[in-house]
């Protein structure tokens, strides 16, 4: 059966999205076709607004409505601390905890020679530029605890420490509120290896 062009276009576009395969894309497209026209219009408008109204903060690369994001412009935030994360979605996760009142910087990935990601592909130069104001005293590296994240943290620490800034890395290990006995062995093992002095 030949699929009409407008339908095929939507299927093709949807299947470009992460974790959506050909079959799911087809199901979603057919679902949209059967859906209420107003709902589809609202979705389409939302998608366009998303691209037109939301941008990346010029300072920290967080998602933002204005040129500079709300966190960067807030007077309530502690401007001496910058937490470095991989993606903007990590900011949302840390903000949910209400434990951090400093600023952020989104690197836009981690070092990975295999996927062709090097220093120039990350927002590192832009971070170094933020130090020029002399407000920044501490950098907290909050990258994912995988091989690439660890290596990027090592790279960043070596780069920043000579500038006289305090550099720390978020602790990893056991989930809070969970009992030791219920954590998986690899997590406990890692926590034991990276134990800290008290």
């Amino acid at each position: 059966m030949l699929i009409p062009e407008p339908l095929q276009l939507v299927i093709d576009e949807l299947s470009k999205l992460p974790s959506i395969g050909k079959k799911t894309a087809q199901r979603l497209a057919l679902h949209l076709l059967k859906s209420d026209k107003e709902m589809v219009k609202s979705l389409a408008k939302g998608l366009i607004d998303l691209k037109e109204k939301i941008q990346f903060c010029e300072v920290c690369f967080n998602i933002s409505v204005a040129n500079i994001c709300e966190i960067c412009t807030s007077q309530k935030r502690d401007r001496s601390k910058i937490c470095v994360v991989e993606e903007a979605s990590d900011i949302i996760a840390i903000e949910r905890t209400n434990e951090f009142d400093g600023l952020y910087h989104v690197l836009g990935g981690v070092l990975s020679p295999l996927s062709g990601k090097g220093v120039e592909d990350l927002n590192i130069k832009e971070l170094l530029k933020r130090f020029e104001s002399n407000e920044v005293e501490e950098i907290i590296l909050a990258l994912n605890p995988d091989t690439e994240g660890e290596t990027t943290s090592l790279y960043m620490a070596k780069l920043i420490k000579p500038l006289g800034l305090k550099v720390s890395r978020i602790a990893r290990g056991l989930p809070i509120g969970g009992d030791l006995e219920f954590a998986d062995d690899a997590t406990i093992g890692r926590a034991v290896i990276s134990r800290i002095d008290i």
Binding site: S112, P113, L114, T147, E150, T151, A186, G189
Partner: protein, 370 residues
């Protein structure tokens, strides 16, 4: 842990076989190509979700059919049912543990520990260092989830670092050198953890090998495993030595764009009476060493994991002299549940048997109890 029974549907030659097992020795007898080793394969599938000879799932489907299914019942402190089915039209395998689908093989590995003694084991003592690393790594990974995680990280670091070395060689971009330093640090960190685990394992495992070897041979021969990494190191200064060695090979690594230092190049040297087995060992010493390694693995895993593995032995009695065959069957009494295939009844009458051992005959995919 005891495997009570299995059901095979369209699994290679077995169109529809139901087997119940003894909790001691299960002798599975049949000619070549009759489907006796298939039973070991099915058991191995259930314990690891993978095929014994690393062949793709589709090759295990009966040639006239479109799917296979393996069902099994384990009994430990609790009962577990496991079901593995593969559909060649979909090309997908589903693994269910107590009717709940398992999506990651890691969730099942170590739950049903298994030790195999198969024909290709000769490569452990006779083959390349990679075969010995594979043997050691698979044991430590099953006993320690931490090791498995570090091992995966280390291999990823190797791939990332060699890709970067390649980029440096191609582009000569000086900014890449500072990234190389970072990857080198990660390599040293994870690699040193691997080495530390391997040293500890080697020290513990040696006792098990000695014990097993002497049980099988009853001689004054003493086996020993030594660990060979990039330098003679003691537990303490691994990171330092690693960095030193990398520094020495710095230029060469850039020329060849390869990781030239690290535990991915380690070897384990097997000795009998302080003489290297690979160079000076007789055929018989090789065979005994291979068998001793698997028995040692069995008892090591039993002690460290607190679970009794299942022992699978493929066709080993045929090529052994009566003395060793008898010794091994005696030793198997200490093991617990084992599955032993044999092509014929050579040696069978000399083996030490218990009353509730089972003898199963397999002919053209059909099972009969003797």
């Amino acid at each position: 842990m005891i495997l009570k029974s299995i059901e095979l549907k369209n699994f290679r030659l077995h169109k529809d076989s139901v087997l119940t097992f003894s909790e001691n020795l299960n002798f599975i007898v049949g000619g070549n190509g009759q489907g006796k080793t298939t039973i070991l394969e099915a058991i191995y599938y259930m314990c690891t979700t993978k095929s014994l000879n690393q062949s793709p799932d589709i090759e295990s489907v009966n040639f006239e059919e479109k799917f296979f299914e393996i069902k099994g019942q384990f009994e430990d402190l609790t009962k577990n049912r496991i079901n593995i089915n593969f559909n060649s039209d979909v090309g997908k395998k589903a693994v269910l543990l107590d009717e709940k689908q398992i999506f990651r093989a890691a969730d099942i590995i170590g739950k049903f520990p298994v030790v195999t003694l198969i024909q290709s084991d000769h490569e452990i003592t006779q083959g390349s260092p990679g075969e010995r690393r594979k043997f050691v790594d698979s044991i430590i990974s099953q006993a320690s989830e931490t090791y498995l995680k570090i091992f995966i990280d280390y291999n990823k670091t190797l791939r990332q670092r060699s890709s970067l070395l390649n980029q440096i060689r191609e582009t000569k971009n000086p900014s890449l050198y500072s990234q190389l330093d970072a990857w080198t640090s990660t390599l040293i960190k994870t690699g040193s953890e691997i080495i530390r685990h391997r040293i500890k394992f080697k020290n513990e495992f040696n006792e098990y090998v000695k014990n097993a070897y002497q049980k099988i041979m009853n001689t004054i021969e003493t086996p020993d495993i030594s660990y060979q990494t990039f330098t003679e190191i003691e537990d303490k200064n691994i990171e330092e030595e690693f960095a030193k060695e990398l520094n020495k090979k710095k230029e060469l690594e850039l020329i060849r764009a390869k990781n030239l230092v690290g535990p991915h190049r380690d070897d384990f040297i097997f000795n009998v009476n302080n003489r290297e087995l690979r160079r000076y060992g007789s055929q018989g010493q090789h065979k005994t060493f291979q068998i001793a390694l698997r028995f040692a693995q069995f008892f090591y895993m039993k002690d460290t994991m607190g679970r009794v593995p299942i022992f699978l032995m493929d066709d080993i009695f045929g090529e052994l002299d009566t003395y060793r065959a008898k010794k091994i069957s005696e030793y198997l009494k200490e093991v617990g549940q084992s599955f032993i295939t044999m092509t014929d009844f050579t040696n069978y009458s000399d083996l030490v048997k218990l009353e509730n051992d089972k003898l199963i005959e397999v002919e053209n995919g059909t099972v009969t109890y003797v």
